[in-house]
Symmetry: D2
Subunit: 346 residues, 4 copies
Amino acid sequence: MSKVRVGIINVTGYIGVELARLLHRHPNVILTSVTGRSAVGKGLGEVFPHLRDVDLTIKPDLDEVDFVFAALPHGESAAAVVPVLERGVKVVDVSADFRLTDAVEYERWYELAHPAPKYLKEAVYGLVELNRDRIRSARLVANPGCYPTSAILALAPAVKEGLIEPDIIVDSKSGVSGAGRGLSLTTHYSEVNENVCAYALNGHRHLPEIAQELRRLAGGSALSVTFVPHLIPMTRGILSTCYARLKVGKVTQAEKGREEVRRLYQDFYDGEHFVKVVAAPPQTKQTWGSNLCLLYPTVDLRTGRLIVISCIDNLVKGGAGQAVQNMNLMLGFPETAGLEGTPIHP
Amino acid sequence: MSKVRVGIINVTGYIGVELARLLHRHPNVILTSVTGRSAVGKGLGEVFPHLRDVDLTIKPDLDEVDFVFAALPHGESAAAVVPVLERGVKVVDVSADFRLTDAVEYERWYELAHPAPKYLKEAVYGLVELNRDRIRSARLVANPGCYPTSAILALAPAVKEGLIEPDIIVDSKSGVSGAGRGLSLTTHYSEVNENVCAYALNGHRHLPEIAQELRRLAGGSALSVTFVPHLIPMTRGILSTCYARLKVGKVTQAEKGREEVRRLYQDFYDGEHFVKVVAAPPQTKQTWGSNLCLLYPTVDLRTGRLIVISCIDNLVKGGAGQAVQNMNLMLGFPETAGLEGTPIHP
Amino acid sequence: MSKVRVGIINVTGYIGVELARLLHRHPNVILTSVTGRSAVGKGLGEVFPHLRDVDLTIKPDLDEVDFVFAALPHGESAAAVVPVLERGVKVVDVSADFRLTDAVEYERWYELAHPAPKYLKEAVYGLVELNRDRIRSARLVANPGCYPTSAILALAPAVKEGLIEPDIIVDSKSGVSGAGRGLSLTTHYSEVNENVCAYALNGHRHLPEIAQELRRLAGGSALSVTFVPHLIPMTRGILSTCYARLKVGKVTQAEKGREEVRRLYQDFYDGEHFVKVVAAPPQTKQTWGSNLCLLYPTVDLRTGRLIVISCIDNLVKGGAGQAVQNMNLMLGFPETAGLEGTPIHP
Amino acid sequence: MSKVRVGIINVTGYIGVELARLLHRHPNVILTSVTGRSAVGKGLGEVFPHLRDVDLTIKPDLDEVDFVFAALPHGESAAAVVPVLERGVKVVDVSADFRLTDAVEYERWYELAHPAPKYLKEAVYGLVELNRDRIRSARLVANPGCYPTSAILALAPAVKEGLIEPDIIVDSKSGVSGAGRGLSLTTHYSEVNENVCAYALNGHRHLPEIAQELRRLAGGSALSVTFVPHLIPMTRGILSTCYARLKVGKVTQAEKGREEVRRLYQDFYDGEHFVKVVAAPPQTKQTWGSNLCLLYPTVDLRTGRLIVISCIDNLVKGGAGQAVQNMNLMLGFPETAGLEGTPIHP
């Protein structure tokens, strides 16, 4: 069977090159076209030496392809995606443009009118473990943000099963690659190294995304979410620590309760290839370079609080890997195709 | 005036050598005696080349001194401190031995009977900004733990002023030096680098210390505290992110409320040299090598939650620096003597 | 065709687990048996969570297998390898035991009598790009050290073609994983982070290995080699900077001479899949997680000195990857089987 | 005695803020004026929170001061320095503008005509340990570059005493702060972390500076110098590894020769406060935050090569600290004033 031709719009960011890395080794597709806003006319391997094996030139526009990943900044991405969809080509958009279903909410958080509101209804939120069936038949998938991936997977079982009070705190620690390849003092080596900070305390754009999906899991009922992201001195990885009070009577208030919660989580993610409920607190390095999400739910017995730790590689399960996982479903490939790589340690 | 002779029991840990560094440049004291459990007979600068200017030999026992810092592990420290006190020499103990006032609580958390329970009442918890007067007249000060320093300073104004519900979450991120100089796989470079993890999810020994001091600030009323420490890939620094629900009616639910909270914090720490309430989220690097604690209180207006970020250098304000600050009070020196150093950046 | 059963003796070091990672995805073999000196009886994924997909228990002894990697420390490895060979099973030994062809030299550097000197003649030095044919027919291959891999590949063309004076300096910078998984103060995070040091200035054990192979390339004539390794604060990667004076008349003393040298290097490694002569100074990160060696030869026109920069991932091309490359040849598989992974960036 | 008023032209780079940190605690001077090309009108502590104690506003021009540090980029610095000198105010220029004594050489390396050639003769190269007397009476001192400081101090005794052949290699490893506070992809965290590279292989601007000063030490006779700088993933510190062949007959070719060399170095730097000849290979961390230079000379007995390792903090002895040391001499203060700080470890 001939391979599906795939293109990447704006390959030059960190999600873009990670897509190129994964697609280059994918057994069912062939990466045939990449565009960029910078570096047009240069070889991909010239700009990104780790991709020296991928023999492609960065062009201003896509060649004809059968499937597209769009990796432009928000606003621009929606605009670029529409003509592709209208040519009948399926798209995974890794920008934020189609994640929020409400155009008003989009405008509030992204401070611009949505460029293609008529597609908001159609777009499927690409968290495979929660929306697998809808993704299979989608022609436009909105790839989740990195923080929301870690937070929603951590909280979905508890919210869906009505385990917790609707008042949630997500405290996330992210590696610096999440801030992208663009230059700024906040990603300047000498400023970031040996340093940690909280940011976006007035509200990070991933907050409405987390709230929207948790609300959906809660059957539409209101939820209060506090989300505080932190930047820590490493390149890849997000660890989210999630806190919520257990509803009275749902879980035994003793060591046994911890087991009950773990079993509930294990059942929820039973059979999942990329989400693993683990028996000891996980570390981001245990997911490094892979599409895994590791979850550790536990109960603070002194306070009756559920604590869930989740770990992902922000550029893989939190970005390019999840995008490939979405593509696999949309094109009828095995869900794990091209994503079998084990984490790299140390 | 002749300088006060100071000794360090067990100089060979990271708090010990940081004490040596600070005391070596202190204008009012002279470091004359250091002991160690390892490296006995060697020059201090031989074992710790950065201390080459400090001309002292590590001995098994203290010479006669006028003031003592004890830096042994818990259990051992109390045993070593008692004879010093009984010779009439004042002590700052940087171990955990005299931090908890209740011997039963000590035994529960440290899994050994307290070696010197009769001193528990007398010992003063050495968080200067809260206990300044008692410290001045103390002969035994228990130097606070690194996490408790960051958490208690962050929450003291809110708890003391009755701003928040008695249900608190402290999510702390610490550099690796907090785990000490002892070898373990969890502090092995290749395991820690490019990694983050949560630990002690069943209860960290600093939790009862945080709870005890917050309860005292709350006038003895019960408090529920969840504390989750994380290890991040840097050497020095702790950032604690503290969450608690504001009591209804205490703070305006609008931008103005943030100002009210900040002013309350500024008033609480007015005139403090080492605790600063800052106008933008602080970073641990802004305290690196100094005795500063930077606090940033804010309100999550969507959820009515107080969030307080605090940053310290775990080995200075969270360790040796605070110990020197305590000594300064106990000996009648200016509180800032020997602690004037500006943070080092980058 | 059924897959070849492969075993790893002492999987619990960093080279061992990296072998497990690579072999787990290898298309022609199946990892069926792993031994350890520690952690016997535990699941591989229990001790090394990144290997959770590899369903194997660490045992004290190997099961029956068709091919063996030995990853014990020197001295112990030779002893363990002999009975395997005598059962007719081929071996790649990643220890230093069969790298030096001269038992006297071995004893001088490793301070013990060689445990199996009769195999020294037979063992082939497993630097594939130089010894491909001999490796194909070998039953015992000595996998090169990490530093020697980077140094010999950097210098082989120049030495072989008689380009340089026989007086060479190799200044290497290594990530910390090269020092292994064993605990020591020199690999303790807080000591290594934000630090660089030179070590083994009286002679590193990789020096005789480098000298031996370069001498062989020089047709046996004497060579003077100075080798200084440095430890830098990163986990993976070796960059070696090699210096030697160009023989008079061999290369044009002008910009053109740089081209001549580069062409000579490109011709030497023409067709190699894993060794690439690049047009700009390479970075270790461009090889991260892959079996690549990147070489950049140039001429310091002011001094007539050849400078060659080489970059590898010390655990892949400098360890487990090269071992798999050797196995591929020994078993008649495609040389790149299981080693196709692109470097991971960032 | 009233304190000397000091100003910094262009405080907003890393050398500039490090100067501010050191001068703020200097016992004999008071920092009264700072200028910037960016951030004009802002408080110093607003832009650099670690300097919150320094109550100064960044202005476009200097107020009246008694001494000036110029920290502009080359070309601009000379232009700014001239009017200051002409007002009779002494200057330490930390740019490269007055380091090379030959305007033709300056133009070759910096690709612009020297803005103030008439001052080149007068300017003194501010490596205190070599030029102490000339600095005392200078009104314009060119503060050495960071790499040259580490290289020249490492080689001066050997060159001055005629120990080595005039063919030298300097292989330097630098932390990223040496590249300054300006943004570029080469200092972007995700690109630098877990990476090492060589750069400037066609000639770094610090090369002519090293060569000029070594030639001066050699009594003007020609020297061949190869200098290769490397960027490693840490913020502060330079380690230079220097190689040169020992002249025949100068040093015993045995262990004893190492002692002879060490003694020669110790004699050369006898009584120096900031340059220490140490008995074991030093590490950059042993100088972190201090004005120390640690030197370790040894002999590779197999090859008859002198190897010298030198370590400095590139922003202190390689920048701001050395600038203060120069000022101390120029103003008749104790040479160590304001520079007594012990290195910080870990």
